[in-house]
């Protein structure tokens, strides 16, 4: 057995519940920090930004799973659904912090969504992710059939681009970091269309 096979077997044994349980830790930790001064003197914005950043990072990890298998043979496809759901969980928390803690005024929230392009774009990404989260279970997969289910789940791609774009648009001045996120996201999407899929035959 090659090292790669060993890795894949070990990864295959990694239970989803462990991922979900781990995913709860960072937000709880951030809330604790926010309450105890660990997020600085403006904890609301800091919490909002950290959750948004975590969501983008997880989105990138989720998108990287297939190219990773194609290029290296390391197979994390089994964990991809859990990672996608955790991404959605972080996006939802990010949105909730903005809605409840940051703005908190209903009329202002709506005005912001409609008037401020970076918020419109962020909200669009969230909305696109809702059907994906709802159908991320075996029953939906069976009901929809694999082909339709797969097609639906390609909504991930525009959602990822909009999420990264949301970050780029809210930066003031010329800033590198958001562009790196957008660049990686686009590269991972491009990888899906250009690379020979030799792993598909394996």
């Amino acid at each position: 057995m090659t090292a790669k096979q060993k890795i894949n077997i070990a990864l295959g044994r990694l239970p989803a519940w462990l991922l979900y349980a781990t995913a709860v830790i960072p937000p709880v930790w951030l809330l604790y920090l926010g309450q105890t001064g660990g997020l600085g003197v403006e904890p609301i914005k800091e919490l909002e930004h950290r959750l948004g950043e975590l969501a983008l990072q997880l989105f990138i990890v989720t998108l990287a799973i297939r190219p990773l298998r194609d290029w290296s043979g390391i197979n994390l496809l089994k964990q991809r659904r859990a990672l996608g759901l955790i991404t959605f969980f972080y996006v939802t928390l990010h949105l909730l912090v903005w809605l409840v803690l940051d703005v908190g005024i209903l009329s202002e929230i709506w005005a912001d969504i409609v008037k401020r392009p970076y918020i419109t774009v962020g909200m669009a990404a969230f909305v696109l992710m809702i059907p994906l989260a709802i159908t991320s279970n075996n029953r939906s997969l069976r009901k929809m059939g694999p082909k339709r289910w797969k097609n639906w789940h390609k909504l991930t791609y525009p959602a990822a681009v909009l999420g990264a774009l949301h970050f780029v648009m809210l930066a003031k001045g010329f800033q590198i970091e958001p562009l790196i996120y957008l660049g990686i996201t686009l590269l991972l999407l491009a990888a899906r269309f250009r690379l020979p899929r030799k792993a598909a035959m394996a």
Partner: protein
């Protein structure tokens, strides 16, 4: 001449030193309130600023809040970058070039600038365009006093300012976040207004580097970015000068940049703001026209469309 402006605010008790000493120092010293008197506090010398009536009804933010949450892109775009890196800035010696339409142009050392000026404490609201705010007990003198000292010539209608650019001491300027140097400007009557000050300190102590040491502008009725930091050049000019954020995004940032809850900024609603320091569950408060200085400054803009001229 200091004290041109007479405030009708009542004088409350001076903020006790203990109220703004940052928590970390209190905890580190294990202080009970009895031990407070023995704490040396930040080891800086008192500037001996004259107390004034400005903002005695306001609750100032702590020094920790004021000096740990800053926008000073010369040191990086993160709010914590200025506190992290501004110690690299050499503020002694410091000089400011004053040029353009003035009687006495030249390079003024920090001491030259302060010569003949009366340092006053001014407790002002500070409103960032990003919809957060603070209350800051500045120490400074009126810009009008400095302009009178250097002699403003006929024909000067605007004042332009520039921040230092030192790649060795300011890691942020090595990146093209905006076009350096940072530039700001005021109409001459705004510059001469008694609320407009040149600040050299906070809480009666020398200005922390991250807040724009050693010398910065404070224009309390305008968004924070107008209050340019670490000034190295002041020019009296005939035409409206270019200002950094306006150069970058004219639709978002106007020349005037008066705090105006009715003018919708494309990025942030300006109707409300959050005062820093309220923790995780602090609510937004209404933003005031001209940041609460309407009575004093509205006259400067009589007959002007403040939405058009934002």
């Amino acid at each position: 001449m200091a004290g041109r402006y007479q405030s009708d605010l009542t004088r409350n008790d001076v903020t006790p030193r203990a109220a703004w000493l940052n928590r970390r120092q209190l905890i580190a010293s294990g202080a009970s309130s009895l031990a407070l008197a023995s704490i040396a506090g930040p080891a800086a010398a008192s500037l001996g600023a004259k107390k004034t009536d400005y903002g005695q009804d306001l609750v100032p933010n702590t020094l920790e809040e004021i000096s740990s949450y800053n926008n000073f892109y010369e040191f990086g775009t993160d709010k914590g970058d200025p506190a992290r890196y501004a110690h690299m800035l050499t503020t002694e010696p410091w000089s400011v070039d004053i040029d353009g339409l003035v009687d006495k142009p030249g390079t003024y050392s920090f001491d030259d600038l302060l010569d003949g000026m009366t340092l006053e404490e001014r407790i002002y609201r500070f409103r960032c365009v990003e919809a957060w705010s603070m209350v800051i007990p500045w120490v400074g003198f009126e810009l009008a006093d400095l302009l009178e000292k250097v002699g403003v010539q006929d024909g000067a209608r605007y004042v332009a300012f520039e921040t230092a650019v030192r790649p060795d001491e300011m890691p942020g300027v090595r990146r093209p976040t905006i076009e350096w140097p940072y530039r700001e400007g005021l109409r001459l009557d705004e510059a001469m207004h008694p609320l407009t000050i040149v600040a050299t300190g906070i809480y009666d102590e020398p200005m922390p580097n991250q807040n724009g040491a050693p010398i910065r502008l404070v224009v309390p009725w305008k968004y924070g970015y107008k209050s340019i930091k670490s000034i190295v050049r002041i020019s009296l000019v005939a035409d409206q000068p270019e200002t950094s954020w306006n150069m970058l995004q004219p639709r978002e940032y106007g020349f005037y940049s008066n705090v105006n809850p009715n003018r919708d900024h494309p990025r942030w609603s300006q109707k409300t703001e959050r005062k820093i320091g309220g923790g995780l569950f602090s609510r937004r408060i209404d933003t005031l026209m001209f940041n609460g200085y309407e009575e004093e400054v509205a006259g400067l803009y009589e007959g002007m469309d403040l939405i058009e001229n934002h």
